[in-house]
Each structure stands twice: as C-alpha cells, then as structure tokens.
C-alpha cells in the first residue's frame, strides 16, 4: 500500500497556515462533549494534556510513574532549538528546516519539518511565560549556545537541566488543569492494550501497578505520548522503565510502525564498566562545544592521557570533518569513534572509549567559565567514574539514546487507525534517519502545544463517532486478553529472570542492529530473537502476586513486548538496503566510510503492518519528495 501523509497543498511556507484555516473547528460548547485519553506525561503528553484541557476538552491522563513529573523527558540536559535568530548569526525558520531535513539524511517529511521550525519560536515564548528559567545574558535577554549538527547558536538552555525545566513547565500547566478538574490524572497506571472498535481507536486497557487491577477507559480519541524504545538494547541512556509496550500494542491492533530501525546512537556517553551495569549515562552533547575529542595516534598507547604529547594525539573529528569539527552530527561522530576504536586506538579498560578533553578550553576560558557551563555534568561524571574531568580528560563512547522510528502518523499526527494520535518520540517523527541535538524537546512540545490541539479538533469535527462504553464487547475481549497474558506469564515458573532475558536481547540487538548493520548479521539476529522469545515463554520466572505491586511482573510484560518488537526492527533494518543517518548498512558506504544513501530505491518511509507473532510483517511505503531541500550527499567535511 502507498500511504498518504495528507500533506496540504501549496507552498511549503504556507501549508500550515492554509491547513489551519481549512480544518474544521469544534465550537467551545461542544468541546466539553469530547473525551481524550492521553497516555504519557513527558513533554509531549503533558503539553498536549494541558493545552487540550485549556481548550475545554475532557482529558484523562495516564502514566506508569508515581508522579507525572518523573517522565523520561526530565533527563534531557542540553537544550531546545528555535529559529529566533537572537544572536543575529543568520538563523531563520528556513535554515532550521533545512538543517533538520539534511540532518535527518532526507528521510523525513519536508512539510512536517517546516511546520516544526515554524512553531519552534512559539515554544520558547510559551515556556518563558510559564516561568522556565532559561539561561540569560547580563542584560536580561535570553542566552543561546550551539549544539551538534549546527553552525550557529540556536539552542536555548537551562544549565544542564533543560528537559527538567521544560517538563516542569508543562507539568505545572497540566497540574493546574488537574486542580481545575479539567483533567483526571491516573498515576502508577500502565497501558497494556489499545481498544479498536470498528476500525477506530476508542480506548485503552490498563493495569494499576499498585493493585494489579485491570481496567478499561473509553474516549473519543487516544493520544499516545509514550516515548521511545532505546531500551530494546537493554543498555541505553533511557530511564529504566522506558519501554515499547504502548506503541507496540497499538501496532498489534493495526497501527503501522514506521522506520523502527532508525535508532540514534549518541556519541558522548560514559563507557560501560561491567556486566552489572543497568544503564549508560549520557554526557550532554553541549560538552562538544568546548571539549575536543581525541585518541592516541598509535594503537595500544597505554600512557596516561596527560602524558601523551600533542603531536601523538589524533583529534579525529577535527581531522575528518574540518568545518564542523567536534560538533559533527551524532551518527557521524559515533561512527567515527567506533572506527578509531576498531583500529585499536580506543582508550580505557575496555578499549571502547575516546577522550573528551577540556584542557584547552580551561586554558582559554578559565576554570570558572567551564564550571559555570558544565559544572553539574563534571560532577556527575566524577560521581560515576571517580575521575575529575578538570584534571584528566573524560572518557566517552557511543550509546543508544533516541529512536527516530515510531508509529506512523499523517500530517495531522494521526496514525492510520482513525482516532489514534501519536506525539513526541513515540511517533516516527520529523527527524528522519537521524535527529539533531536539541530537537526532540522542540518536537515534543511542538506536537503537544501547537499542533495536536488544532488537528484533533478537525478529527472530531469531521468524524461521526458512535456512542460506546466500556461495556462494549471489544473492551471485555481486550481485558480478557490482557488477563490471559498476565496469567500466562505468571504461570511459566521457569529459571530465568526478565532482566536476564532483557540483557540477552540487548546484546543481540547491539551486536547485529546497533551502530552498524549488515545482511548476514541481521539474518542471524532474525534467528536468535525468536529463539530467545521461545525460551522466554518456557523458562521465565516471575515471583510475587499479580494483584499487588509486582516489579518482576511489570518488567516481564515489557520484556515480552521488546522480544516481539525486536524482530520488527530487524526486518526493517534488513529491508532498508541502504545506509542513511543512524542506519548504517556496512554494504553501503563510500570508500571513506561515509553512509551511502540509495535515493532511487529508498527515498521513502517504511511503515510496517502486523501479521502475527513471528510472521514477517507487511512493508508499506510513503514516498518522500524533496521539493525545497534538494537531495544531496550529506557532507559535514
């Protein structure tokens, strides 16, 4: 099937305005009659819930956290982009649009990216009005800095805690609506299934994490804002609970999953120290503004970094990408690090590490400035590794970080299942095959504050919804299926823990579907994953009771979905027989090791349709056309 993204006609600069005019409206009095279920309270979910409730819709919000403020968005450090051009360095909406399309290696929908750049400025206005304490100049004006993949300063930040401050802004806007009784909030409640009635998404089935109670909720629309799936790799920079269940379950109910193989490996994370490790910690990319990345020129050089003289160091990013240097985009910087480590020049106990060195910056700017810019990051690094980055260079290595893939949505952010809207990292998004730094926060808030609130109204105004309650047989059926799944998991009584399975799955995915991929490896993984899944269903152990707070059961349910989802990711990586952005197929590279796209055959979004566990899903495509940013080789040299 050829999918239609429903992109409005007209010049790209006018599409969104025109569309806003053409969309049907719901009158204020009628808004109250519609109930919207929002799953997730990260930047996307909280901003959407608040904005929809302000408009007058009835909103119910769900999160598995104990408080909405704990959503994974809280952990974003570096910043948020906008095309304000405050530094007067030549930025514009067009340039942000251009950079994002190019950064995504021409695998995003142009019209969506343009709209994202357009609303980026409103986001900053909104956040400032909410009291987000962005960094300021002495004059009182907002400060900016540069970030990976951009040659100008368009990033707004709140020390190293931008995500936290933006989320607290959205969270407090949402809590205000909870207080006004416009939103009903359900915490410690996990969505385990989507209910589709006559082809339309009408509700969800949840598990109360404290009591185990399985419940149904009905709505006129369902909004998934459930984040990304980097934890399919087990070790990633994501929070422990991040998982794919909500979007994967929607996929199993008929929503198409787009570009699942597009995952981002972040270049600046603290290298793994041992098997016990539960996560990898990101060191904000903003560090690359002042830090210089290097490895010894000679393989096996075991001297202390401070003992290695300047001429025996290889500042490989500056050497390979002179115009962007240490700020080369993430996929490029990550692969370059892997390449030098594969050559035996990696540092640290495992040899999987490169230096990120601040000594020049400290000399140039003084310790005080560096402390002001990165103090809390340096402290965090020292706490984890025991090393002091003011004295010795940091060690970093790439780690899974973000997932560009997600549920397919049209221009209105609605999936192919009517009524199911998907926002934030959970949708397949505007970042194409690679996301630029500081643009996930921008996208999550754009979707939630400024796009969905308009487009969902159009859906209501143009759709005749039948009246249903949770007594509808589809709800009962779905509840039964969820209960059955839980009973099955509880009754295996095998010998391995959910975490053991998760770790094994992570290794398979990292080895064969990680930073670089090839046909042989992907085929091998397509053998290994079903075997592991088989073992899971025969040898898993879950202790405790189902009707209680049960952390093992929670984890087991999430791992069960990862074990199916992984196969989907592998299919996508295998069938996308080209390299682009974060998807690097070893078969397709230029002699210098750069990714080689195949625009003739793969200039499209791949959206997968579920056909049963273990079966190969059906690959649909949405062709991508580039009218405004001509397809070119993405060079950062």
């Amino acid at each position: 099937m050829i999918l239609d993204g429903k992109v409005p006609s007209g010049h790209i600069t006018e599409k969104w305005d025109k569309h806003r005019f053409e969309m049907k409206l719901v009158s204020p009095a009628n808004k109250r009659k519609y109930k919207i279920l929002v799953i997730g309270t990260g930047l996307a979910g909280a901003s959407a819930a608040a904005s929809l409730a302000e408009l007058g819709y009835q909103v119910e919000v769900f999160t598995y956290h104990d408080s909405p403020r704990r959503a994974h968005s809280i952990a974003a450090q570096g910043g948020i982009n906008a095309a304000k051009n405050y530094p007067n360095d030549g930025d514009s909406i067009w340039r942000l649009f251009y950079d994002t399309v190019k950064g995504g290696d021409f695998r995003a929908r142009e019209s969506n990216v343009y709209r994202l750049a357009q609303v980026s400025n409103n986001i900053i206005d909104q956040c400032v009005a909410q009291g987000v304490p962005f960094a300021r100049e002495y004059s009182g004006y907002l400060a900016n800095r540069s970030f990976g993949g951009a040659q100008l300063s368009r990033t707004f930040y709140a020390r190293g805690q931008t995500g936290q401050q933006l989320l607290l802004g959205a969270y407090s806007a949402m809590m205000r609506q909870v207080g006004l009784k416009n939103i009903i909030l359900h915490t410690r409640t996990e969505m385990l299934d989507l209910v589709v009635i006559n082809g339309i998404a009408r509700g969800i089935v949840t598990r109360n994490l404290l009591t185990g109670k399985i419940e149904s909720f009905v709505g006129d629309a369902v909004v998934l804002a459930t984040g990304g799936y980097s934890n399919v790799f087990f070790l990633s920079t994501n929070a422990q609970a991040c998982n794919v269940t909500a979007t994967y379950r929607a996929y199993k109910r008929g929503a198409f999953f787009a570009n699942p193989a597009f995952t981002q490996i972040h270049p600046t994370c603290i290298p793994q120290s041992g098997e016990h490790q539960s996560k990898l910690t990101l060191m904000s990319e903003s560090l690359r503004n002042d830090g210089r990345v290097w490895v010894p020129k000679n393989p096996g050089d075991k001297r202390k970094p401070t003992d290695i003289p300047e001429e025996e160091r290889d500042y490989f990013l500056e050497r390979m990408y002179p115009s962007y240097g240490n700020l080369a985009p993430r996929d490029i910087a990550s692969r370059a690090a892997k390449r030098v480590c594969d050559e035996g020049r990696g540092v640290g106990p495992t040899g999987n590490g490169v230096y990120l060195d601040f000594s020049d910056a400290i000399k140039r700017l003084g310790k005080k400035v560096i402390e002001e810019r990165y103090g809390n990051l340096f402290e965090m690094y020292e706490r984890i590794t025991g090393d002091n980055p003011y004295e010795t260079p940091m060690m970093i290595y790439p780690a899974p970080h973000y997932t560009m893939g997600g549920l397919w949505v049209d221009y209105n952010l609605m999936s192919n299942l009517p009524g199911l809207h998907v926002i934030g990292e959970a949708n397949f998004s505007d970042h194409g095959a690679n996301r630029l730094g500081a643009s996930a926060l921008m996208q999550g808030l754009a979707d939630g504050y400024f796009i969905l609130p308009y487009t969902i109204g159009h859906y209501f105004a143009t759709t005749k919804l039948e009246k249903v309650t949770t007594d509808h047989p589809e709800f009962k059926k779905c509840e039964e299926e969820v209960k059955e799944r839980i009973n099955k998991i509880m009754s295996i009584k095998g010998k391995k823990t959910p975490t053991q399975f998760h770790r094994e799955l992570g290794k398979i995915m990292w080895n064969y579907c990680g930073m670089s991929r090839n046909e042989e490896g992907l085929k091998k993984a397509l053998d290994l994953v079903p075997q592991l899944r088989e073992e899971f269903w025969n040898n898993l152990t879950v202790v405790g009771e189902e009707g209680d707070l049960n952390i093992v059961l929670e984890k087991a349910l999430r791992v069960a979905d990862f074990l199916e989802f992984a196969e989907l990711m592998l299919w996508d990586a295998l069938e996308r027989n080209e390299s682009c952005g974060g998807h690097f197929r070893e078969e397709h590279q230029y002699p210098d090791g750069e990714a080689k796209r195949d625009d003739e055959n793969f200039c499209h979004v791949a959206a997968w349709e579920y056909t049963g566990v273990g079966n190969k899903p059906i690959r649909h495509i949405e062709p991508l056309t580039f009218e405004y940013v001509p397809l070119t080789i993405r060079s950062y040299k």
Binding site: S67, D125, F134, G140, R176, T281, V552
Partner: protein, 256 residues
C-alpha cells in the same frame, strides 16, 4: 567486596514491616547503589523470593524517583547525591548497611521501600504554576530577567521533588520543597501577578497534607541532593506573611 544489608520489608500499608538481613559477596566498587540492589533482587528472584520493591527510574539523579534512607540518611552518606548516583566505592568491604524508605507522616509506605509522595503533586496542583494558557505568551525577549534573578530562580527550580527534605526533617515538614517552588516563581517577573495567591494556596495545601512545621533545624538542606538552600524557606515565610494580610487572603478564605 562483601556487604551485609538490613532492608526494611513491608508487605503493604496495613501490615507491619521489619528489617530483613541479606549478605552480598561480590559487590564491585563501580556499581551504583541501586545496581547493588539489582544484584540482590536478581538473586532473590532466582531463589523464588520476592525482590525488594523500590522506586527508581532515570538513575541519573534528575527524576526524583529514588528514595532510600541509607544508614539513617535520606539518599545516603554522600553530599548532594541521590541514591541512584551513590556508588559502592563510598562503602568498604564488610560494611553493614541499613536501608529504609523515606519516612514521613505525609508519605505513607506502599510496599517495602516504596512510598506515596503524591502529596507533592497536590501542592503543585494547588498553586505551583503560572496561569498562562497555551497561545497567550508574548515574544520571549519582551520579558527581561536580570541574570541574577534568572540564576536564583534556577537555583530554586532545580528541586527534583524527591522528598528527602521531608524524610530528613524531624517534623516531616515540606518547607524546602514548597519554598523552592514559591521562590522559583517569586524571582521572575512572570511570577509576580499570582505571587501572593500562590504562596497562600500552596502553604494551605501543604498543611492539609499533614506535613509538619518548620523549627529551623536545617536537616532538609543537608539531605537535599540538589543543595536547595534554606534561604528559600525564609523567602517563602516572608511572602506568606505579606500575603496573609492582603486582598488575596480574603479571596482564599471566601473560596473555602
């Protein structure tokens, strides 16, 4: 290294809890405290026993979920560090470690080390915001904020809502948490219109939730992983006093 753990186990809010003792033999220095507990939990699961329930998520010291009292100190011995960022290199071979939940009247225990901190959300809900709807905002640079004020606001806004301040306070007071939020907005021009109403509503809700009173012991500041300063409590007290004899107070009373 080897450690002996005494961990609070409690089936639910109704049953009484008690310490259980566990020994772990191969703990590595590089492990975080929670990774050490992961090792214990994996072991317990394989023995068919229920693992220790505790809240956690980001493991980067920012989400505020982790909440253990370690050897009597909320978040443990290392200054300005959350439980999840505490590493085993801070302990020695043979150490005995006592692990309890954050204890406070307003944080009922749910199970083992998990407590209910939703009272914090209800305080925010009562007034911890600026009432601006999406779309109403003026151009960002039309609101100037002196750098000093922005920095002060940020110092206060860094609070992660973990509740260690409450757990550390002998009275179970939430003054540091509430003071931080009140001050965050009080330092910003955007926060001025609702400044009085905000402090009144938040303090009123705080009292309803059963948090204790402040007797200036500063245990909260010492336990706070984000080093939120008690000067924000002073600011809140001043604001509260001023607001108590203002028009806004009447409004709050009339809405009761």
């Amino acid at each position: 290294m080897k450690v002996k753990l005494h961990i609070w186990r409690q089936k639910n809010n109704k049953e009484k809890g008690k310490f259980e003792t566990y020994e772990l033999n191969n703990v590595l220095e590089d492990m975080s405290f929670l990774e050490m507990l992961d090792v214990l939990n994996e072991k317990l699961i394989l023995e068919g026993k229920e693992p220790v329930a505790f809240d956690h998520d980001c493991r980067e010291g920012i989400c505020g979920a982790c909440s253990l009292t370690i050897n009597g100190i909320p978040h443990g011995p290392e200054k300005a560090t959350t439980t999840c960022q505490l590493h085993m290199r801070k302990f020695k071979d043979g150490d005995e470690i006592w692990i309890e939940p954050f204890r406070a009247k307003a944080f009922p225990i749910i199970k083992d080390l998990v407590v209910d901190r939703s009272a914090f959300d209800r305080i925010i809900q009562a007034g911890g915001f600026i009432s601006v709807n999406t779309g109403q905002a003026p151009e960002a640079n039309s609101i100037l904020v002196p750098k000093q004020n922005a920095d002060n606001a940020m110092d206060a806004a860094q609070c992660i809502g973990c509740g260690a301040c409450v757990a550390a306070c002998p009275n179970g007071a939430a003054m540091l948490f509430v003071g931080a939020k009140v001050s965050h907005f009080a330092y910003l021009p955007q926060g001025q219109p609702e400044r009085k109403l905000r402090v009144l509503k938040m303090v009123e809700q705080m009292q309803k939730e059963g948090f204790g009173n402040c007797s200036n012991l500063y245990e909260c500041e010492a336990a706070c992983p984000k080093e939120i300063s008690v000067r924000f409590i002073a600011l809140m007290n001043r604001d509260y006093l001023k607001a108590s004899c203002s028009e806004e107070k009447l409004e709050v009373i009339n809405n009761e």
